[in-house]
């Protein structure tokens, strides 16, 4: 499974988001490839899911094929956990 963590530039907050996602996945004992990316590059990378903020989510909606999951606070593990669980559920359907 490949997951993108996206922010405006792909260097700062997306890296933090990625660390959070990885932390949650590790708790759940799930292996996945998580990459941090900027908005534009994210459009061109094939992946299974995209995690980003509500605003950027709106921005890229329709331009990417993967499902987008939004997180308000990138470091809020509770919030990230909810989003990750949602993704896992939908992927299993």
């Amino acid at each position: 499974m490949k997951i993108l963590a996206v922010c405006g530039f792909g260097v700062g907050s997306s890296m933090i988001l990625r660390m959070s996602i990885e932390k949650v996945l590790k708790e759940l004992d799930i292996k996945a490839d998580v990459e941090n990316q900027d908005v534009n590059s994210a459009r061109g990378i094939p992946c299974d899911a995209i995690f980003t903020s509500i605003e950027i989510g709106r921005e890229i909606a329709g331009t990417v094929s993967a499902k987008v999951y939004t997180v308000k606070k990138y470091m809020d593990l509770v919030e990230v956990r909810v989003a990750v669980n949602k993704m896992l559920e939908e992927n299993n359907k």
């Binding site: 530039f9 260097v11 700062g12 932390k23 908005v39 903020s53 950027i56 470091m75 809020d76 593990l77």
Partner: protein, 635 residues
């Protein structure tokens, strides 16, 4: 150069065109030994000439035909001297002081000092040294053996004098050991036999049962005296499995899983995204595969660049150490030695610093006058030390011209005249060789210590007037240092968030002002320009408040290029809540990155801090000194 080699050299010089068979008969040595001797001779006389084999006859080409003044190896090599003495003390056959004076061409005083120094080495290892007609070393038997194995690796072994039993064992069991492996094994056998005779034997061996099942276990039993305990047999047997061989089959199943785990955990811990993962895994697999048994059975590894690696990649080394020691897939790596972690660190370090330089430029071919065996030994060593190298093949000198593949460099143990891009190395790579290879094949060459500042200043002086020698010297050193260090060093969080970069104010008029005030220390010291501040604000306007990573904590940042002069961070705490596009914030941490990896160390440390509620509170409400203390602690 050994005395026999010296005689051979003089013989060839005196008898131009002497034939191979004649030399073999004259000195009653094997072909392999002769070739090895000649390669050694050629290395010693590198500045004067060379012995060449022209269609089966040997000639000397060079300027000086009188080789009486050739230097004794011991004269200028302190390590060699010490290892020589250690070797003979452990074996209990140290020559007398006056004999040593002759062998090493040193004064009595120097020799006595040397022996004293060696005794201190034993004491430091908690080993007891007694002298009753000969030296006897007692204590932890494993430590004694480890020291011995390290010493023989450092002695630049001459691969003659190999135990017959070892050759038979090798051939019978089809182990295909390299020349050096055979030599080391002969030495170890010699030691074991001596130790057993003295009643000093290995009492405990954690892997004894496991090793019994190895296919060469019974053969090992045959080559040791009948009084050897099961432990001793198992020890020798385990050692054999740890040696480099030419056999490539027999992979260990879990290594792929281990490497996956290693890379995954590494990425998690550092938040580094490895781009050429597949290539990297192939590379490192080759290394781990060949060292698996050595690591597992805890045999010492010779890593002359360990110290440099630890200095240069301190953080990386610690991370990898933690990951490897806690591996669930290869728990046998728990007791891994620092030397081994050093090798693995070189791989990761090479990957990160060099971003794997396009392999197109670094295809190498190994050439050895002694043919396949020697070049294979060299190949194994190069894989161990130089990550990302692409060795396209090995060949003997005579067949070099038939090679059709393209290559960029020739790695050889002899200078090859009339060939370009030849890298000459020793058959057992020295630190200098490794530095050389690293600097050629990756961007991570260890700073060349040989740069002579004095000479440099003299050159400058030739064309200009120097007003301040001391200052010029420091500045030059700084410049050289920087070039080598590159900007790729990954600073820690506390190195970035220094005291003057953490501030606190009561209120601001809006979030834009907050970002500007937060960034001010960086503008002041030239780390960033106003362009970057504008980009950070623009980013929020365009993409919304996603930079608020946790409650009341924002990470303003923008793209890596515009307006950033150097990687930097600054922090501003605003006592009165600030509204950032609808989200309340107290703390603004400005991040100015120069690329997408050097800030990872610091960012990873920060995120670990922020996952804890009480730290988040401290960032909102704590004093500047409390925040500073937290950051110091969080590294």
């Amino acid at each position: 150069m050994k005395s026999r080699q010296f005689i051979i050299l003089n013989y060839i010089t005196a008898n131009e065109g002497v034939q191979l068979q004649k030399l073999l008969n004259k000195f009653s040595i094997s072909k392999r030994t002769l070739y090895y001797d000649i390669s050694n001779i050629n290395k010693s006389i590198i500045n004067e000439g060379i012995i060449k084999n022209v269609e089966g006859s040997f000639f000397y080409f060079g300027i000086n035909e009188n080789h009486s003044c050739i230097q004794n190896d011991f004269v200028d090599n302190v390590t060699l001297r010490k290892n020589y003495v250690l070797y003979h003390i452990i074996l209990g056959d140290l020559p007398t002081i006056s004999e040593l004076c002759t062998i090493m061409d040193l004064s009595k005083n120097t020799i006595t000092m040397l022996i004293e120094k060696c005794k201190i080495d034993f004491l430091l290892l908690n080993l007891k040294v007694t002298y009753k007609k000969k030296y006897i070393i007692e204590g932890d038997e494993h430590k004694i053996r480890d020291l011995f194995l390290t010493v023989i690796e450092n002695l630049n072994p001459h691969i003659d004098d190999i135990d017959e039993d070892i050759i038979n064992l090798d051939e019978q069991m089809n182990l295909r050991l390299t020349d050096f492996s055979r030599k080391f094994l002969s030495e170890l056998k010699k030691l074991i036999v001596k130790r057993i005779k003295m009643g000093l034997t290995i009492n405990e061996l954690s892997y004894q049962k496991e090793v019994c099942a190895f296919k060469h276990y019974h053969a090992c039993k045959m080559i040791l005296p009948s009084s050897a305990s099961e432990n001793e047999v198992a020890y020798l047997c385990a050692y054999i499995s740890s040696l480099p061989t030419l056999n490539t089959e027999g992979t260990i199943d879990r290594i792929d899983d281990f490497i996956d785990e290693l890379v995954l955990k590494f990425e998690q811990k550092t938040a580094i995204k490895m781009q050429y993962k597949k290539e990297f895994k192939v590379n490192i697999k080759r290394h781990i595969q060949s060292s698996y048994y050595r690591i597992k059975f805890c045999f010492p590894a010779h890593n002359p660049i360990l110290y440099d690696v630890k200095m240069k990649y301190e953080y990386l080394f610690l991370i990898l150490q933690k990951i490897i020691k806690n591996s669930t897939i290869l728990p046998e790596f728990k007791k891994i030695r620092d030397e081994e972690i050093g090798f693995i660190t070189t791989y990761f370090g090479g990957y990160l610093m060099g971003e794997v330089r396009a392999t197109q430029n670094s295809r190498a071919i190994i050439v050895c006058p002694n043919g396949y065996m020697m070049s294979k030994t060299l190949e194994l060593q190069i894989y161990r030390f130089v990550p990302g190298i692409n060795i396209i093949g090995t060949t003997s000198l005579s067949k070099l011209d038939d090679v059709i593949q393209e290559y960029d460099y020739i790695i050889s143990t002899l200078p090859l005249l009339a060939k370009k891009e030849v890298i000459v190395v020793n058959p057992i790579l020295t630190k200098g060789d490794i530095d050389l290879l690293l600097s050629i094949f990756t961007d991570i060459g260890i700073p060349n210590p040989k740069i002579d500042i004095e000479k440099l200043i003299k050159t400058v002086e030739k064309y200009s007037t120097v007003h301040d020698y001391k200052k010029l010297e420091t500045e030059l050193l700084k410049t050289i240092h920087q070039i080598n260090e590159n900007e790729r060093y990954q600073p820690m969080l506390n190195e970035l968030l220094t005291e003057n970069r953490i501030n606190s104010i009561d209120s601001v008029c809006d979030w834009k002002q907050a970002i500007a005030v937060a960034a001010k220390p960086l503008i002041d010291d030239g780390s960033i320009t106003n362009v970057y501040v504008e980009s950070m604000i623009e980013n929020v306007i365009q993409h919304g408040p996603y930079i608020v990573l946790a409650d009341y904590f924002a990470l303003p940042h923008a793209g890596a290029k515009d307006g950033v002069n150097q990687l930097s961070m600054s922090l501003l705490q605003v006592k009165n809540e600030v509204d950032l596009a609808g989200v309340p914030v107290h703390t603004f941490l400005v991040l100015a990155a120069i690329d997408n990896s050097t800030h990872i160390t610091a960012l990873a440390a920060l995120s670990e801090l922020l996952y804890e509620e009480k730290n988040l509170k401290l960032f909102q409400q704590g004093s500047v000194s409390e925040i500073r203390a937290l950051i110091e602690k969080g590294n």
